[in-house]
Assembly symmetry: C2
Homo-oligomer: 307 residues x 2
């Protein structure tokens, strides 16, 4: 294989009670990437369509992630060209950088006849996240690479667990075109939390994991709360409370901040409800005269797809 | 049915990463109780063998729990006598009060032809825990009543989830005859915890829940850590570090404080290992010249049993 074309999906990190450990892969939206072998050693980003992002390999998340893989393999002579057709907006909170980083390592791994498993690719993709956000996090790249729900149990050593996805689950995501910098979203966090709230959070996360294994949608709904981060971060997202309230009123199992925002997600268990939630969420930002993108998407069980 | 004889099992609360939410039911040790209908309305504790505990109904955890049930039913004329053959030592940290409280409500419910489900009995049994420890907690009475692993996701409203038990799992518990008062065990806790440690804890608990559903013993072992409570409470239990270290050295999947101590549990996946761990744990307290009881027990999937 000389060339590969990929669909690189958006992802929702945290998913309310799973701050910094849980992630979820969507069917839509997603970027497309074309990666081809080249005679020039290293990685060239030859084209980026749809966003104004750096073409310089060391400044591009796909470039950095791909180089991390090649360095690990000591494939000093291997060369790849990458074209990125960007559909996930950077800064949206649905894993734009993760899609590019994960796509690069997935595609290069394919063209090299898969020296690495999907799980083994995660640390390379995390190098892209480090460039994008200053933090080596895996809660978007893990679901992008593995699909479904993923749990990042530990970083040292990296321990990622793929979790099951209840059949009917469907997501609605609204991305209001407001800027929330990841650095700001980090800075509002407190270094300590009350033991009481922490217990509530881990009880909810434990219940959510059980709900995923048993497809218990009612339990899932009872668990989709975030006592710790959402109260702090939601103030950075104008309209958050209204959007969440209307999502729940329109039948969402739960609703919360996607990653560090500003996107807001809701989960429900049928497409009609997901569409109704989308319309209701959109109405909030229409009233506020804030531009938005909206996505209704099934859960992507497989992650990145070869097109 | 006029009379019922019960086996009321010991339980392990918290189970390392599940502080205040997780509990686990053992096959051994356990109390026996005889409950019979009586013409005298209310509850009489007619006999307690094995421990010096109050016979006065309002001062006895079984009495208080049973009365809570009768009051809820408005069964003002119903009367019951309770005999308790106590084998689980009070203050051991393996759910002695829970066994009595759960046994009382289970038995009375049986004699009244089961007006309540096992889950519905939990709040009544919790009244016994309130008397015993000053706190309305369910992390021992829930596994005693439901069996297996239980998750107390929420108290308001009460939401208890029964979790699966990996086939081979087996427990070892050592009870050094040292006094750790529940009040002291509570007072060493801090009101706040670092967000970093809380994330580690909920990642581990989420992983543990996944391991229970998938019978993944290696994952279970990686998750059986407590970053938050064990470092504080273990200092109240002389020999804890040595016991835990020797349990792990002898093949335990994990080891930690049972409830608020002083009992220390270990989990392993075969009986030979569980027995080897028991011998190694015992050796520690033999050296320290501290008396101890030791129990090797399969996981009790059903909770209280009718004899």
């Amino acid at each position: 294989m000389e060339e590969i074309k990929l669909f690189c999906p958006a992802t929702i990190a945290n998913v309310s009670c799973g701050f910094d450990v849980l992630g979820l892969c969507l069917e839509q939206p997603g970027d497309e990437m074309i990666i081809r072998k080249s005679k020039t050693p290293g990685i060239q980003i030859t084209k980026i369509v749809g966003q104004d992002l750096p073409l310089e390999t060391e400044k591009n998340v796909a470039g950095v992630a791909g180089l991390a893989l090649l360095n690990d393999l000591k494939e000093l002579k291997a060369g790849f060209e990458i074209e990125i057709y960007k559909k996930i907006k950077p800064g949206s909170g649905i894993g734009s950088s993760a899609a590019s980083a994960a796509g690069a390592v997935f595609g290069i791994n394919q063209l090299l006849d898969e020296p690495f498993s999907a799980k083994e690719l995660i640390p390379f993709a995390m190098q892209g996240e480090l460039l994008a956000s200053g933090a080596l996090h895996a809660d978007n790249v893990a679901p992008a690479l593995l699909g479904g729900f993923t749990l990042v149990r530990s970083y040292d050593p990296l321990d990622v667990i793929k979790l099951p996805v209840p059949e009917q689950l469907i997501g609605t995501v609204i991305h209001p075109q407001l800027e929330v910098k990841t650095a700001d979203a980090r800075s509002v966090l407190k270094h300590s939390v009350s033991l009481k709230n922490a217990i509530t959070q881990w009880g909810n996360l434990a219940g959510l994991i059980s709900a995923l294994y048993t497809s218990d949608y009612e339990l899932l709904a009872r668990c989709l709360h975030d006592e710790i981060v959402e109260p702090l971060r939601s103030v950075l997202i104008p309209g958050f409370n209204e959007v969440k309230a209307t999502a729940l009123k329109n039948g969402a199992l739960g609703s919360g901040i996607s990653g560090s925002g500003p996107s807001i997600f809701a989960l429900s268990k049928d497409e009609a409800t997901a569409n109704q939630i989308a319309a209701a969420m959109a109405e909030v930002y229409r009233k506020f005269e804030v531009a938005y993108d909206i996505h209704v998407s099934k859960i992507n069980r497989d992650g990145i797809k070869i097109l």
